[in-house]
């Protein structure tokens, strides 16, 4: 090892933590070493977040020891963790949007009573440069991109001399160029002796970035491996789920049925002359860099944004007519990207969340048939293998994969003819992704699926046809069998190529 340092900063010994009957962490041993990037891989609900919350001082373990620099340390608050040099960058940033970068970075540690804006900014600029995190210390946080905000979060930890930096799925909110930037910064921090813990589902990211990989499953560390001895994503995936998963789903093409969605010349709200035809039995994937009109497209098709100009026909009916009083069954189902805020009510239990879009089917006169709704929910929990299986569990307590399964089960119960699925496997582990993909493919039998995805491999796995979106326009629409065009998707996403 030619690292600056190779000492264990934090050692976890036999860490266990239970929530009720669920063992979230079960006798976990883990070494976090200076100068190393440790990737923590695991399915949803494998215990990664609990483990990291213990490290960040938010939970106390039921059993086990935490050694910082070889000395046993009790982390009973986030302050203790910060004092021990452990800092965490959460998925949701905790910044004050109206304040500047420098103010956010040095918040709570300005020292004296008087603030010296110039000196604060100089200190932050120095820190940013040292670790290769380009940012303007005088900029206001509300004006920054997600990638820049993340850098502010990192700088905040660095300013407190954190030696262990934990990142919870840091790439989920970033654009591809920002991811490249982040990885360079992470490597630079590791080279300067920081210990990095990187939580991710994305196998290629883990492979390209980390030095060591620890795989968690059901609360235990089931595998620990040096990244350089892993040869492929497939190998890592199989280590992760304990069986060979190649993330390929079998897809038999179905004969196209009747037209379920037709758009012609839809313009406005960021869309430009969007035309498409979608038939029952097929999947049309819309791919592109986020922010190129996908949101407006989805909102138009799902009825939340009236098309400014152009025609939209859903199941043979004109947009206004269809959305005047849409049927809950045999019509349109929308699987949104935001599962917790939009697709479900976090505080309500699974039954109420199932009723959210199916309530018309459980109504007798003015009354709800709660008993039957409980029965149907229990069936869904069994058929889709949702954990925990207790139907009184609030949606907010479900892991991402289980929540998505609940949403799918509910939306498929409506026997939709048109499905709009937005990033359906985002943030899910390999196993859950595979299940979601299988379910979507099975739903083609009765429905046409408009899949909006930022994940090209997902689009290629599921789609019959692919539409590449750039600046509100479909650059090209082609069958997935057209290998030449598939090769050129990257160019089309950047706005280069045919289709004008």
């Amino acid at each position: 090892m030619d690292r600056v340092a190779d000492i264990t900063v934090v050692r976890l010994e036999g860490i266990s933590k239970s929530f009720g009957a669920v063992k979230a962490n079960d006798a976990i041993d883990l070494d976090i070493r200076a100068g190393h990037i440790l990737a923590l891989l695991g399915e949803n609900g494998a215990g990664k977040s609990t483990l990291m919350s213990i490290l960040a001082g938010r939970f106390r373990p039921d059993a086990g020891r935490i050694l910082v620099d070889g000395r046993e340390t009790v982390l009973s608050s986030t302050k203790d963790a910060i004092r021990a040099g452990i800092g965490m960058v959460y998925q949701h940033f905790m910044l004050v949007p109206t304040m500047t970068v420098a103010q956010n970075v040095l918040l709570g540690q300005e020292g004296g009573f008087w603030l010296n804006r110039g000196r604060m900014e100089a200190r932050v600029a120095e820190l940013a440069e040292f670790f290769g995190l380009a940012i303007d210390p005088a900029a206001t946080v509300s004006e920054l991109s997600m990638g820049e905000r993340q850098r502010v979060e990192i700088l905040r930890l660095l300013a407190r001399d954190s030696r262990v930096l934990i990142f919870d799925e840091p790439t989920a909110v970033l654009t591809p160029p920002e991811i490249v930037h982040l990885f360079a910064a992470l490597k630079s921090m590791a080279n300067r002796g920081k210990a990095i813990v990187f939580i991710s589902h994305k196998l290629e990211e883990v492979l390209s970035l980390s030095d060591d990989i620890a795989i968690l499953s059901r609360g235990r560390v089931v595998d620990r491996v040096e990244t350089r001895v892993v040869c492929s994503k497939a190998e890592l995936a199989s280590r992760m789920v304990g069986r060979e998963v190649f993330l390929e789903v079998e897809k038999e093409p179905l004969p196209p049925g009747e037209v379920v969605l037709e758009m012609s010349g839809v313009t406005g709200f960021g869309l430009k002359e969007v035309s498409l035809t979608l038939r029952q039995g097929e999947v049309l994937a819309v791919v592109g860099v986020a922010g190129n009109g996908q949101k407006a497209l989805v909102e138009t098709v799902t009825g939340f944004r009236r098309p400014a100009t152009g025609k939209v026909n859903i199941l043979g009916r004109e947009w206004t007519e269809f959305f005047r009083n849409p049927d809950w069954k045999h019509a349109l189902a929308y699987i949104p990207e935001d599962r917790l805020g939009l697709a479900t009510c976090p505080n309500l239990d699974m039954v109420d969340n199932v009723l959210l879009t199916t309530r018309q089917g459980f109504t007798r006169g003015p009354f709800m048939e709660h008993g039957r709704a409980r029965q149907v929910t229990a069936d869904m929990v069994r058929d889709f293998d949702i954990q925990p299986a207790r139907i009184a569990t609030p949606a907010g307590k479900l892991s991402g994969g289980n929540l998505q399964k609940l949403v799918l089960a509910r939306e498929f119960y409506r026997a939709p003819r048109l499905i709009v699925a937005e990033q359906p496997s985002q943030g899910l582990d390999v196993k859950a992704t595979e299940e979601v993909w299988r379910q979507l493919l099975a739903a083609r039998a009765c429905a046409g699926i408009l899949l909006v995805s930022g994940d090209l491999s997902e689009a290629l796995q599921l789609a019959d046809r692919i539409a590449v979106m750039f600046r509100g326009r479909f650059m090209d629409v082609f069958p997935v069998s057209d290998t030449a065009k598939v090769e050129a998707i990257g160019l089309a996403m950047a706005g280069v190529g045919a289709g004008h």
Binding site: D80, R83, C345, N347, L356, T357, R359, F367, M368
Partner: protein
Amino acid sequence: MRLSIVKRQEPLPGGSFFILAGALVFSLSISALLLALQGKSALGGLYVLWHGAFGAGYALVDTILKSVPIYLCGLGVAVAFRMQIWNIGAEGQFAMGAVGATWAALTFPEAPAALVLPLMFACAALAGGAFAFIPAWLKTRLKVNEIISTLMLNYIAILFLDYLVYGPWKEKRSFGFPMTAQFSDAAVIGGIGGSRLHWGLVVCVLAGILVFVMLRFTRLGFELKASGSAARASRYARMPYDALVWTVMAICGALAGTAGLIETSATVNRLQPSVMAGYGYTAIVVAWLARLNPLTIALAAFFLAGLRVGVENLQLELQVPAAFGNIMEGLILLSVLAGQFFQTYRIALRRRAG
């Protein structure tokens, strides 16, 4: 050693009961302290308060009668709060209900009870409900915050009531007192079996059952719960958010209006400014203490009505200012609200690290 605040992983079991009890003890202790500061006997004062509210038969009847309007208003407020519509306009809707009922009673002085009473109920519910449509319209069309609009409309309603009893509806032979003529016997809600307890109590029971069933078993109740829980998700599920706002405002207005009718007809037998005793505001405290549950609202209404009656006794016997009741009401609400903090957090003692 120092104190730190730790989030509970599981909510405190049986927590709401302990919190309520603790908050009551805490607020009563402060009240006792306030009494002592005025040179009154603290424990004696609390006894006078208790005795005045629940200690004797006539006191108990007073308390039950006072809980009627508080309960109906609290029920209405709770329906709106379920949807996170912060309607604090029960006071104004109560006033409009009283006005509506009085109009019916004064317009048809000769009509038999079988005609005039139903008409009064209809007018009170309509007047209260229609008045609540104003903030509903302002909110759904112009996005005006309902807290501000309902609060300001309360003053308008009360001034409108005052205008009527000082002006067009004033009785000729009232020697200048602002009051309408006494209602005809047909327009007065009578006592049950000759007692002072009147049929308004039965209205409360019926309204309570209806609201309970509506919230618990109907699709409307489910949609209210979902919309209150997550507005974005209810929009996603295509719930008619605006229509739901109108509905909860109408329900609250109708219930508060009915309360105004009962207070005017059964208790005072005429319209006069003293019917406006702040029940609509107490209802907010009641709804919140009862966690918006129609059954516990009855208990909370009874309790706060007892407080009002007891404080009157306290005024008489110990010459405590009338505002003392408001102070206690505020203390109880604030202690309960602050106490809810302990449902999700606990305070831990720990040694300083290192």
